[in-house]
Amino acid sequence: MSAQTYGLIATFKTAPSLYHAAEAVRDAGYRHWDCITPFPVHGLDKAMGLRRSVVPRISLIGGITGFCTGMSLIWWTGAVDYKLIVGGKPLFSPMFAFPVAYELTILFTAFATIIGMFVLNGLPMHYHPVLKYDQIRRGMDDTFFIVIEARDPRFNAANTRALLEQAGGETITELDP
């Protein structure tokens, strides 16, 4: 059975109930599980035991790349490839190169951040078992879910369902893979 199922999904009506249920699932030691919320619920990361996102590191790499790109582009074009005397200004100076390097820093940071976010989230993923759940529309609207995946080593259809029920989950359903 567990081979045929993606996992279990439980419904929670309010944010606090979800929060406490998440704490319970976390404490039960599950790793492959998730909360589905219509908006980012404060504190839920901690309740789920999630670590701080690594997006900032990717952003930092992007930013540094952007800055270096800007500076080296301006240095190479102006002071190496084609040395033109423009208004008596030096061939290269970090001062006049700064605005462009600065803008490129931001641009590259933005790209890195978004790409990083997508990659970390595994998006775009238009097909997903959770999305097939017929109540998922409510999950985008006003209802909260907890999904525990079958591939979790601790997953056991009965125990897991019991855990969710205990935590206050309603309408606990198995998801097709």
Partner: protein, 475 residues
């Protein structure tokens, strides 16, 4: 927005101390439920297209056609169809550019700076404000692109390797502008889009449920398969925070660089170091003016009084007042610096601004930008929506004239009196500018018709029932 409180909540000491909650302003009135918010906002998109929308849309298209016609004529014939001439080589083109860019700034400001400053009241207006930013940047970009003499060579502005082996001049503020404005446009679109993803997912599912597969697919494609996973929210929130974080210096840098177009030159009246803060303040000022001008009618038409509350209007009026006063201070400071600098050329530029050929423009600017916002000191004014709306239009007019005064009066009478001149616009530029309001309106109308005008996820996050700790945030 959640991350801020989340961090505060995470702090152990705060958790223990549990400080007494200050009474908070009501951001969503009448204690609305989550689904009320969803219904209300998605309803705008799902409902039948109202007649007024069609009327406005056709009117906007008509107005936009003026820009299209004006630009077509310009490109086919030459920049001479505008009123430019020596010594005024920049006029309405750059005035309009700076004007639109300035308007755009409020959008980024509301979404990014207020986000960083944990001003939760921004949530109801930030989506529309960001849209406004993007559309304003589109309108702004029209002018610098088409004001050049040979627009078909505008690609020379980008560092593309070519067989002429020549590169750009990165000392030019105009080249900085190219990077600043294109970065600004790109980042604004990305920021806006990232904010839209969860809402697009809502629309995807709702349209699917309603059986409209085509629109569900379209929204679905752009929703990228968003499923509300909290693991996603975690990265998403962080990315959104970073985007807000970089948008803030970006928005400041963009208008700083736009002001460099003038500050870096040596023209009296342009050559002044106070331009960057002065321009940024002016941009915020004009941007909030425009936000008010747009949001107040929208609020009335769609009955969003519970989402855009009197508190929001009050906040925006106060910001307008503050920035307007900064701008007024800058006007005064310019005169002081000119006098204190004891440079006769500089001194004359400012005296001439106030009392020369273009004094009328200067005094329009002063009355609209310095005097108008002072009405916002009065609570009665701030609470009178109609009056706020009218004053916001004055602010828009005043800020347009500010750019006109800076650009045209300085150029018209510079160093050598022999080359002094007078600029007056041709009908072509007047219509081209007029048309950009149509361009903006077309885009904005499309936006309110097809995209959620408010960020549902964010709105829900600021409702009392979103708090996982139950009562303590309840007032």
């Amino acid at each position: 927005m959640g991350h801020a409180d989340h961090k505060a909540a995470a702090h152990p000491i705060l958790q223990e101390v549990r400080p007494a909650a200050l009474p908070r302003a009501v951001l969503v009135e009448n204690d609305r439920s989550f689904s009320w918010i969803t219904e209300r906002i998605c309803g705008i998109i799902e409902g039948k297209t109202p007649v007024w929308w069609w009327v406005c849309f056709i009117l906007a298209c008509f107005v936009a056609s003026f820009t299209v016609a004006g630009i077509t004529y310009l490109v086919a014939t030459g920049v001479g169809v505008w009123g430019h001439a020596n010594p005024v080589n920049w006029a309405w083109d750059i005035v309009n550019f700076v004007f639109w860019i300035g308007i755009g700034h409020a959008g980024t400001l509301i979404s990014a700076i207020l986000c960083l400053l944990r001003q939760k009241w921004r949530t109801s207006i930030n989506r529309a404000a960001e849209a406004m930013t993007i559309f304003a940047v589109v309108c702004a970009a029209i002018f610098p692109v088409f004001h050049v003499g040979r627009v078909w060579f505008a690609w020379y502005l980008f560092p593309i390797p070519n067989s002429n082996a020549i590169w750009q001049n990165f000392r030019s503020p105009l080249e900085w502008d190219v990077f600043a404005v294109s970065t600004y446009g790109t980042v604004s679109v990305l920021f806006w889009y990232v904010g839209l993803i969860p809402d697009l997912a809502v629309l995807r599912d709702r349209f699917f449920a309603a059986g409209n597969k085509v629109r569900a697919t379209l929204y679905g494609l752009f929703a990228m398969g968003w499923r509300g996973s909290n693991r996603h929210w975690s990265n998403y929130e962080m990315a959104y925070l970073i985007l807000a974080g970089i948008s803030t210096p970006l928005v400041l840098s963009v208008h700083t660089i736009v002001s460099f177009d003038f500050a870096v030159s040596l023209l009296p009246g342009w050559h002044t170091t106070i331009f960057p803060p002065y321009f940024v303040a002016g941009a915020i000022f004009s941007g909030f003016g425009m936000v008010l001008t747009l949001m107040l009618p929208l609020r009335a038409v769609y009955g969003l009084q519970d989402l855009i509350t009197q508190y929001h209007i009050d906040c925006m009026c106060k910001i307008t007042l503050a920035t307007g006063t900064i701008v007024g201070y800058a006007y005064g400071m310019e005169f002081f610096i000119a006098w204190y600098g004891a440079n006769p050329y500089e001194g004359f530029a400012f005296v001439n601004r106030a009392f020369g050929h273009y004094a009328w423009a200067y005094w329009i600017m002063i009355s609209c930008n310095v005097i108008t916002p002072q009405f916002f000191w009065f609570k009665a004014v701030r609470e009178n929506t109609a009056l706020v709306w009218i004053l916001s239009i004055f602010v828009n007019v005043g800020m347009w004239f500010e750019r006109f005064v800076i650009i045209v009066t300085s150029l018209a009478r510079d160093f050598l009196p022999s080359s002094w001149g007078y600029y007056s616009p041709s009908i072509v530029e007047v219509f081209t500018f007029f048309g950009t309001f149509g361009v903006f309106s077309v885009l904005f109308l499309l936006f309110i018709r097809f995209l959620p005008v408010m960020p549902m996820a964010e709105l829900k996050a600021v409702t009392p029932q979103a708090d996982v700790h139950g009562g303590h945030a309840k007032h």
